[in-house]
């Protein structure tokens, strides 16, 4: 039995920045090993776990994609013993000031991320948020030691430790998208005792925060009939209450919009209703901002569904998720997989697709 809190805390204590996912891929692989029939790693580092169908002859396949990469920083310069940085993934520079980080040099170094004080700045910049060139990391080490231990291109991850919050919530960095990796892991555990009519490909994708290239290439290699993308979505919180946002602790969202196949979305809605599982419909007219953008247009086109786990403070060093929402997402995925039948494609999409 996988303990969600323990597993997720491990997941968010690891780096695994976009393009450098192996530190997080290895523990995911260890956890998935007993839950799948085959494990492999794609050319670009995505983890593929195959749970084979228990039927003979032709059968369909479904890809469940959760990206495992995280946002962070990279060392872009050494200046008088201080490190200059560039961002990996979409970072609001205003949330970086005053953070503790880990510099992955020859060894792991603690660092303080700070900005040039106003006293040394051009007067017009007083009180302004930092630009990327105003930011630096102080490792507290002498210059010669810094230049010996750190080189350009070394990665910098957030050092925020996992923090249990009230209301069954967990806070920390990289919950986008390790929360979804955890949901998929719970799903794999739940479907273990079931016979399956479809092949199930559990995929932890790479570089979602940069180019979606992991999902794009894994979809090409696997060629699934349909794909379900699980990612985090915006939870309601201070200053964010509009239609983009969903109450934390009230279940996953089911995406509706141009990246998602409408029939698949309806299908998930019906399943959730049957299960009496709380959920919300999430309307994303132009883009889901997820791996579905890449998977939808892979091969000759792959119908996608997108499930969202509400997350407060996305893309900050302290994101917050309610564990119950992860469990519900895992259960919804498991239900979806275990009720797939030989003729489900026709049932969902009609004769045209068959």
């Amino acid at each position: 039995m996988i303990d969600l809190s323990t597993f997720l805390k491990e997941m968010i204590s690891l780096p695994g920045l976009s393009g450098y996912e192996s530190p997080v891929r290895e523990p995911i692989a260890r956890t998935w090993q007993p839950l799948v029939d085959e494990l492999s790693v794609s050319k670009l580092g995505s983890l593929h776990g195959l749970r084979r169908a228990n039927v003979k002859g032709d059968h369909h396949s479904v890809l469940i994609a959760t990206h495992m990469d995280a946002i962070g920083l990279m060392v872009a310069g050494l200046d008088d013993g201080l490190l200059r940085v560039m961002s990996i993934g979409g970072l609001d520079l205003r949330i970086l000031v005053g953070q503790m980080v880990t510099v992955h040099g020859k060894r792991e170094l603690p660092g303080i991320l700070q900005m040039i004080p106003d006293r040394l700045q051009d007067k017009s910049k007083a009180g302004s948020p930092p630009g990327i060139t105003d930011l630096f990391i102080d490792t507290g080490l002498p210059i010669n030691e810094v230049s010996d231990l750190v080189k350009l291109g070394d990665l910098v991850s957030f050092a925020t430790p996992p923090q249990e919050m009230s209301g069954g919530a967990l806070a920390g960095h990289s919950l986008d998208n390790r929360a979804s990796v955890a949901a998929l892991t719970l799903c794999l555990e739940e479907i273990r005792k079931f016979n399956l009519a479809w092949d199930v490909w559990a995929v932890a994708t790479t570089q979602e925060e940069e180019t979606l290239v992991g999902a794009r290439t894994s979809a090409y290699e696997i060629k699934p009939d349909i794909a379900v993308v699980v990612d985090v979505t915006f939870a309601k919180g201070p200053g964010v209450t509009d239609y983009h946002t969903f109450a934390a602790g009230k279940g996953p969202t089911i995406g509706v919009g141009s990246n998602m196949h409408p029939a698949l979305g309806k299908y998930f809605k019906t399943l959730a209703d049957e299960m009496d599982l709380p959920y919300a419909m999430e309307y994303m007219p132009k883009s889901s901002g997820t791996d579905a953008m890449a998977i939808q247009v892979s091969e000759e086109g792959i119908p996608c569904a997108v499930l969202g786990i509400p997350l407060r403070y996305m893309h900050t060093p302290l994101e917050m998720v309610v564990l119950k929402d992860i469990q519900r997402t895992g259960r919804l995925l498991a239900r979806f997989i275990t009720q797939l039948e030989t003729d489900t494609m026709e049932k969902i999409f009609g004769e045209r697709k068959a």
Binding site: Q121, G167, G249, H315, T316
Partner: protein, 363 residues
């Protein structure tokens, strides 16, 4: 008059026990106005070495270490126990609370920080809006403190009450020659003062004030000085080392003080002209014992010396600070060697101090 020179005076060093005391002090939560946690650590630490310990009306801890000489000089040493933080001012429901800052914290240091709230240290977050939902013009302005909230998690409504205080949840770490932690302003001073009490020289009467509410306008030290009635006072604090490269590549001539150059002796700041006799004495002591020191660039800022020198009939004061980067942020950085040299300097000075110091004219 020759001061009695103790040529073989053994100067104190910082070892792991002092570092672990500093770690406890740095991790403790003692926001201005509620200094209980640090006060308890102070009382427990100094009790065996003190002749008298009083907690006064505001919560200052006043410690007396008596002298063995007749008519000893009465020396007040001050370090403030409080740190910057915030007070919870409104419960908005669903685990969300609004807060007001206590002490000068740049609002740009706040978003995305872990905090500890209330006496049970409940885990909270000062959250930040996702970049995806921020407008472009929003990104070019600092996030206003007024828009920020403390979030304790959606199930936590009611566990914290308006009036409770909190601060950053940073944990102390040692990194090579450096110390990183919150509230090193002025827990470094508190740790130094505890150490000086443990080793107090017998020829002076040591009057220590571990003061409250420095960050709110030097409030505690003012009444402490009246109660202690010293002949002279030294404020031990932390002062910003702004010894960073300038973005315009010009020489940085406004560094205030520098890391690795030892204790920073104050000549003048926004609130105090230090007593020249005390400045000279500290500098001579440093030279005599080969302890590195620096003069803090005269300028703005201030310490508890600013209120101490104005009470009673006037008290000769000087401040000695441990240089630290990133004051009033979630993580400060100081050097172990600067701390140790500050301890050595004040210890040596106390050992050499006699009433004769105040005999000459101030100038």
């Amino acid at each position: 008059m020759n001061p009695k020179i103790k040529t073989n005076l053994e100067l104190p060093t910082i070892d792991s026990s002092q570092i672990s005391l500093l770690e406890r002090l740095s991790n403790a939560v003692s926001v201005s106005g509620d200094e209980r946690e640090v006060r308890q650590i102070v009382i427990d630490s100094v009790k065996p070495y003190s002749d008298d310990i009083t907690v006064d009306a505001m919560g200052n801890v006043l410690v007396t270490c008596k002298s063995k000489s007749d008519h000893p000089i009465r020396v007040m040493l001050d370090a403030h126990m409080d740190e910057v933080g915030f007070m919870i001012v409104e419960d908005e429901g669903d685990g969300i609370y609004s807060f007001e800052m206590l002490g000068g914290v740049d609002q740009r240091q706040l978003p995305g920080k872990a905090v500890l709230v209330g006496k049970d240290h409940l885990a909270g977050i000062i959250g930040a809006k996702p970049i995806h939902l921020a407008d472009t013009d929003e990104l070019h302005a600092a996030i206003p403190q007024k828009s920020l909230r403390v979030d304790l998690g959606p199930g936590n409504a009611g566990k914290v009450n308006p009036g409770d205080m909190g601060t950053f949840a940073t944990r102390f770490v040692q990194a090579g020659p450096s110390l990183m932690g919150k509230a090193l302003d002025d827990r470094l001073g508190v740790a130094t003062l505890i150490e000086l009490i443990k080793r107090h020289p017998n020829q002076i009467e040591l009057l220590a004030s571990f003061s409250v509410q420095e960050e709110l306008g030097l409030r505690g030290a003012k009444i402490a000085a009246v109660a202690l009635h010293p002949d002279l006072a030294i404020a031990i604090d932390s002062t910003p080392a702004i010894d960073l490269p300038r973005p315009d590549q010009k020489e940085n001539s406004v560094y205030n003080c520098k890391l690795d150059e030892g204790p920073a002796i104050y000549v003048a700041d926004a609130g105090t002209i230090s007593d020249p006799r005390l400045i000279r004495f500290l500098a001579q002591t440093a030279e005599k014992y080969a302890i590195p020191f620096q003069y803090r660039q005269p300028g703005g800022g201030g310490t508890n010396a600013g209120v101490i020198h104005k009470v009673l009939g006037g008290i000769p004061v000087v401040s000695v600070s441990i240089p630290g980067r990133y004051a009033h942020t979630p993580v400060l950085l100081a050097r172990l060697a600067d701390w140790e040299n500050t301890l050595k300097l004040i210890y040596a000075a106390l050992n050499d101090l006699t009433p004769a110091i105040l005999a000459p004219d101030r100038n």
